[in-house]
């Protein structure tokens, strides 16, 4: 029997008691730390991990003042970027599709804290922040969104098709679920090449019921591939709530014979802990499935107000109780790493960074007309390629 809607909503908005932070025993003095201080201290992870066929990692994670400040700044930058993208879309400078990630920042920030650029990340279309996490820059993002030549894919890809192969970011995919078997393929290559690295393939609760996920998972498990399945469960596949879409919405268990872990995806430190744990598992034993319990404040895309299938109370409830940036802010203040005005200054800095990047991107020109015919092939063998009127517009592919 399906759980009631109110139980479901209450589960999403579960309050995290900030006093849990007090429980961490630390041999180090935890006040007046400089923001650059890398001295490690431990923090409790408030929401317990849940394991499926595996013993979860410890509920305490190591971090530092420097790391927390980096988390705060990077997540604030991502948040600002998505808000700016919302405005650009409404001003019609961004066209087509635009799927925003605000609310989910802790997932990609926590992942990057535990991974290297040798590890691969592949995701679906909600990729702006994932791209930034993999070393992309704000001007590259905004230029791409506005279809300009300084965009990360020369303006030819658009919002859903960001890539940065040199940093292990393989896109950026529009067809739901298609990135999953591609990710397993990337893991296969890593094992084949004897690299000490793993592939983290991200998908949503909507894609979690796709057949290709399970086909690829079977292969990953049979061949012990270093593939980590990461379900970013924001509880809604477009407008369909998870309890209406899945018989078993406990996505970390869906791997069946593959172990899984449920993680509070709004807690960057929990994500970091889980991802480090998962990478170790993937490199030594094979695939593992992570479920990040997260939330998106925007609708599915800019064409979706996001309030016809969930209440405004639910959205504001999550913002109040579980916002990932507020979480880190509270921890930084509690540990007296920085002051309220320090953090406000960082937010101002980041706002300016974003505004400057938008301005710079607006000045970038559209791609040259010749780019219409570039990159169709790596090797064109001198074949002819045609425009709409083949006698008016044609080129030779080298």
């Amino acid at each position: 029997m399906a759980p009631s809607i109110s139980t479901f909503r209450r589960a999403i908005c579960t309050r995290v008691n900030a006093s849990r932070f007090l429980a961490s025993p630390s041999p180090f003095r935890n006040f007046s730390s400089s923001t650059e201080d890398s001295t490690p201290f431990t923090v409790d992870i408030a929401v317990p991990f849940k394991g499926h066929k595996i013993e979860p990692p410890p509920q305490v994670v190591e971090t530092s003042a420097k790391e927390l400040m980096t988390f705060f700044k990077d997540m604030s930058r991502m948040r600002r970027m998505e808000i700016a993208s919302d405005q650009l879309y409404k001003s019609k400078l961004i066209r087509g599709f635009c799927h925003l990630y605000d609310g989910q920042e802790a997932v990609c920030i926590g992942m990057e804290a535990a991974l290297t650029r040798e590890d691969n990340i592949i995701t679906a279309y909600r990729d702006h922040c994932t791209y930034l996490g993999r070393g992309g820059t704000l001007p590259e993002v905004f230029s791409e969104l506005m279809g300009r030549k300084d965009g990360c894919t020369l303006g030819k890809g658009g919002s859903m098709h960001f890539y940065k192969k040199e940093n292990g970011f393989y896109g950026g995919h529009g067809i739901v679920g298609a990135q999953i078997p591609l990710g397993v393929g990337l893991a296969f290559a890593q094992k084949y090449e004897k690299m000490k690295a793993a592939t983290f393939l991200l998908y949503g609760d909507g894609a979690a019921n796709q057949g290709q996920l399970f086909e690829a998972l079977n292969m990953a498990a049979l061949w012990d591939l270093p593939a980590v399945y990461v379900c970013e469960n924001n509880h809604y596949g477009m407008g369909t709530a998870e309890w209406r879409a899945a018989k078993c919405p406990e996505y970390y268990k869906r791997g069946d014979y593959v172990p899984g872990l449920k993680v509070d995806g709004m807690d960057a430190l929990a994500v970091k802990q889980a991802v480090r744990f998962a990478k170790e598992h993937a490199l030594s034993k094979g695939p593992i499935m992570l479920e990040m319990d997260t939330y998106r404040y925007h609708g599915h895309s800019m064409s979706d107000p996001g309030s016809t299938y969930r209440t405004r109370d639910e959205i504001s409830g999550v913002r109040q109780e579980r916002d990932p940036i507020e979480r880190i802010r509270k921890l930084i203040l509690f540990k007296e790493i920085a002051t309220v005005s320090d953090l406000k200054n960082i937010e101002k800095e980041v706002k300016k960074e974003v505004e400057d990047a938008v301005a710079k991107a607006k000045e970038s020109s559209p791609p040259d007309a010749s780019e219409l015919f570039s990159n169709v092939y790596v090797k064109g063998y001198g074949s002819q390629v045609f425009g709409c009127d083949r006698k008016h517009s044609t080129a030779t592919l080298s």
Partner: protein
Amino acid sequence: MTFNFAMQAIDHIINSAAKTNYMSAGQISVPIVFRGPNGAAAGVAAQHSQCFAAWYGSCPGLKVLSPYSAEDARGLLKAAIRDPDPVVFLENEILYGEAFPVSAEVLDPSFVLPIGKAKIEREGTDVTVTAFSKMVGYALKAAEILEKEGINVEVINLRSIRPLDRATINQSVRKTNRLVTVEEGWPQHGIGAEICTSVVEESFDYLDAPVERITGADVPMPYAANLERMAVPQIEDIVRAVKRACSRSARGK
């Protein structure tokens, strides 16, 4: 969703739907309609902009329809649902927002259009332009522009990609002696290619000029607005091709 996502299920459209009546020697028929938006919208980039008319149109066992006007949408969809064979119904997202005048006959609950029959949207004498879906609107606008320059265009709205109304197309070309095909999809092995061959096979002696094709560009759909504009047919492309088709005088004159 759009036909782009149907690619994940295309095995079933072809192998479970299209071929079943034949493989089972008529024991099992598949009276199903697959409908959805096809082709490019605006700014949706490579994976969301493909036109599937040619792929589905080449498959025996399938019927493929593509409406342009409201009248087409109503009459053809009803015909598709009543039809006992699998029908692929290719709509267009941009056309959803366009209004068309309809007669009382069209609004009648029993209104239905025949499958396999094209419509002469605009009668003309100098050149035949074939199109389907959104391109019919573009062809009609091109015809208005060309009328002012003394070229009288006949626009055929295909309505039915498979079965293709070869009779209407050939009859028109035998009257006008010139042909321009228009489609949004990729050129190689496209709808225009089949129409051109049909006319060459059946009405060769009536052609006074080579057949012209206007198609989508032979590239994955780019996102940037300026590149996208070059990747989808524009009205000026149709005008240019018609002028080329009309630039030769009739043979033997």
